[in-house]
Symmetry: C2
Subunit: 113 residues, 2 copies
């Protein structure tokens, strides 16, 4: 799995925008055409297409063209690098808590001198 | 839990940078002073402090000052809104796959007329 900094940057940055998260949320329910996706958003088509391109560059979505219709599809497993990174930090954090617990448990509780 | 767009924007944007992710990774192992955190990075202190401030504004870290020493601490559970958002999209995606499976299973396979 690609956990390179460049890939993680692109994924986190792609998700750091409410329009792009709303698009991902819509696409999780199934593929959609660009025009259907654009409808709920109050922005120009060029601005909207920049969001689609950012999502595509991050690897979160794929687009395909059939005649004049472009369809956008969520890439299965595209969130995996993000999840893996979050899991790694949690593991590190929990290992630290375990060490603290061991330290507290093993430290003699006799009166201090 | 705060799943507001503004909060999610701040969290995802804070994590969309290799320096800030490296800081989070370091802090998952325990709190550290700003000067200790800055040491491995080849950047000026003002640039480095911008990263600390971005992490603090997102709610991922807390800083506290004791005399001239500022200590940075990872906030427990700070990733939870990100995880919850990711889980929601996965649930939606899996519900869609379940519906597709039901559709495929329930569709009669007799010869077409």
């Amino acid at each position: 799995m690609d956990l390179s900094p460049v890939r993680l940057d692109a994924l986190f940055q792609a998700l750091g925008d409410p329009t792009r998260r709303a698009l991902i949320h819509r696409l999780a329910a199934g593929p959609a055409t660009v025009s259907d996706l654009a409808r709920p958003f109050d922005m120009t088509l060029p601005s909207f297409l920049l969001h689609i391109r950012k999502l595509e560059a991050s690897g979160l979505v794929l687009t395909s063209k059939d005649g004049r219709t472009r369809t956008v599809t969520l890439v299965p497993g595209a969130f995996t690098p993000v999840r893996t990174w979050l899991d790694d930090q949690r593991d590190l954090w929990e290992a630290r808590l375990d060490r603290l617990e061991t330290f507290v448990t093993d430290t003699p509780k006799g009166p201090r001198t």
